[in-house]
Amino acid sequence: MKWKTAIMMIVACSATARAFESLESDYRTNGSLMHAVVTRANQSLQEFSAVVYDGKKEIGYGIVITEDGYILGKWSELKNAGALSVRVGGELYDTVEISAQDARWDVCLLKIEAGGLKPVVYADSSDIGQGSWVVANGATSRTERRPMIGVVSANSREIRAEGGAVLGVEIKEEKSGIVAGKVPEISGAYKAGIRDGDKIISVGDREILKREDLVEFMKDRRVGEKIEVGYQRDGVDQKTLVELMGRADTFGAEESRNDAMSGDVSKRRSGFPRVIQHDIGGTSKTVGGPLLDLDGKCIGMNIARANRAESYAIPVEELRQISQALLDQAKK
């Protein structure tokens, strides 16, 4: 996206001496009185959304998917937590295990020791039309999640990885061929064992002789794909399976003007096969919970706070599949 080409002025809102009328904050779109208007969605939030903590710090939200304590969360926000605990309703659970994850969708499956939880109620379809009301969690207290309202904002669509999908090696073009420069520790390549100085010989079924060969091969790749990489170290040929990540997620990205306007956004906010876009605000810490319709049914899972005006959710159709696959993976 062309963030750098965006015009919008930020001004300090100074108090003005001129007369104006103002709506009391309780009555505003996400004022404190609005929860009474969306009672059914509010009830769902209290029943099957979860709050995830690292120690005392709130780091994300989740969706309860089984009565015995399996919960979906946003993987990249939770994976580095030291002391995970989870709250469902008013109850705090401090034995939490990460049982499975899906790097492509950035979703993980948590397990708490619980019984008799009310699991998520899925809507039949996420295709409720632009301009339809949606509800998600905002802030939370010990006993209650606060509902926030908004609308479906745009076409459901793929969000390509910012800067494309990458193996995660800086490329040096040397006489001998393509050689790995810096390999960041978080990258797929590093995790697959590739290190600085390895010569890249092949990706998939393609031989790599020059930079363009690699660029060409990577052009239409997606985050989460696993690619076999042939490399040479100390004269010995080796093969490994590398899971692709987004360029910005691997190497970092410069903050744009719109980012500066957006505050705390999700670190991973691109590289999703399909999302619903909505306008409910929040921070990187309010993501992971359910996106609900006015009947309190789950039409998706909030997966990224992209910027000041845009939030993304995984549509319920895909969410059901992801959740089933993660459960299968966990119970194996």
Partner: protein
């Protein structure tokens, strides 16, 4: 006798129009008003559904009229308000009068567009699509029917045009009404500037201008500010000395030609600067400049005097003689 009759007739019409005006405003106050707007809060899902239904039925037409405006310095948004392609946008988007803009319609069509007048004090601006149309357009709320607390929605090409996404819709309420600025809690971001704010019936009520740090601080210019200077802006006037656009400085315009006065008392081009505005417009060495913007030119002094009054980005209409034939050339001045 005839004159007085005409005068009399005019007066009658004026009175009738005034009365008609009063009647229209008296009746139209609630003709199409969503009843939920008169409640402090929606009551239950029926009210919520009523807001949603109104928004959903207004959205397709509103979206079709919302355009992305691309300029050299970045991109903003705008909205078409007539079938022949008049666009309302923000002054800080167009940045001046007579600027070349590429408008991208909702369906992806790219159409050349030129900025008309602007009000640098309030952030109002107009532009016009160069092709004839007809274009999809929205109705302007000229009667100023919107009240504090009304449900509203915003559209805009946040972060630039994205065909797969389309213009994003955001819902909110009108939360503050001040003199020349309205505030809503429809969140805006870069690229939305100049885009439309609608009431839930799909009538245009404001143009996005700026944001504060808080998500609730999204500022729009109300239609009444546009209506105040409508005709001047249509005529291409640069109004005020406010912060939203910088007035071009007289004498800052650059043409890029060297000239000599001929024995016959004419002004001939002896040199055309490389990559100069003159070269871009197709002026050639040996051309004789006869007229600029209708004024006769016969010596260097004429030309210098004329250029002193012109600013960067202004357009000049030149009449030149080349190989014995008269030719019209339009030049957009560069910056000195």
């Amino acid at each position: 006798m005839r004159d007085s009759f005409a005068g009399n007739c005019k007066m009658k019409t004026t009175v009738a129009l005034l009365l008609l005006g009063l009647m229209i405003s008296a009746f139209s106050q609630d003709a199409n008003r969503l009843s939920v707007n008169d409640k402090k809060l929606p009551v239950g899902s029926d009210d919520m559904r009523a807001i949603e239904a109104a928004l959903k039925s207004s959205l397709p037409a509103a979206r079709n009229a919302t355009v992305c405006l691309e300029l050299a310095q970045g991109s903003g948004s705008g909205v078409i308000i007539s079938a022949d392609g008049l666009i309302l946008t923000a002054a800080h988007v167009t940045g001046g009068v007579g600027k070349d803009i590429t408008a991208i319609l909702a369906d992806g069509r790219k159409i050349k567009c030129e900025s008309l007048g602007l009000d640098s004090e309030t952030d109002c601006a107009m532009a016009r699509l160069s092709e004839k149309g007809p274009y999809p357009f929205v109705e302007v709320d000229r009667a100023d029917l919107t009240k504090l607390g009304d449900w509203v929605f915003s559209l805009g090409h946040s972060g630039g045009y994205d065909k797969e996404r389309g213009a994003g819709v955001r819902i909110g309420r009108l939360v503050k009404i001040a003199d020349s600025t309205w505030q809503s809690d429809c969140t805006l971001i870069g690229g939305d500037s100049g885009g439309p704010l609608f009431d839930v019936r799909g009538r245009l009520i404001g143009i996005h201008s700026r944001v504060g740090a808080n998500l609730q601080q999204n500022m729009h210019v109300p239609m009444r500010e546009f209506l105040r200077h409508w005709d001047e802006m249509l005529k291409g006037e640069f109004i005020g000395e406010g912060p939203f656009a910088k007035k071009p400085k007289k004498g800052s315009g650059f043409l890029g030609v060297g000239t000599e006065e001929t024995a016959e008392g004419k002004l001939r081009v002896t040199k055309v600067g490389r990559e100069s505005p003159a070269e871009a417009a197709g002026i050639k060495e040996g051309d004789v400049i006869v007229k600029i913007d209708g004024a006769a030119i016969s010596n260097k002094e004429n030309l210098q005097k004329l250029l002193k009054e012109k600013a960067a980005d202004e357009k000049l209409m030149l009449v030149i003689v080349r190989n014995g034939k008269e030719k019209e050339i339009t030049v957009r001045l560069g910056e000195k």
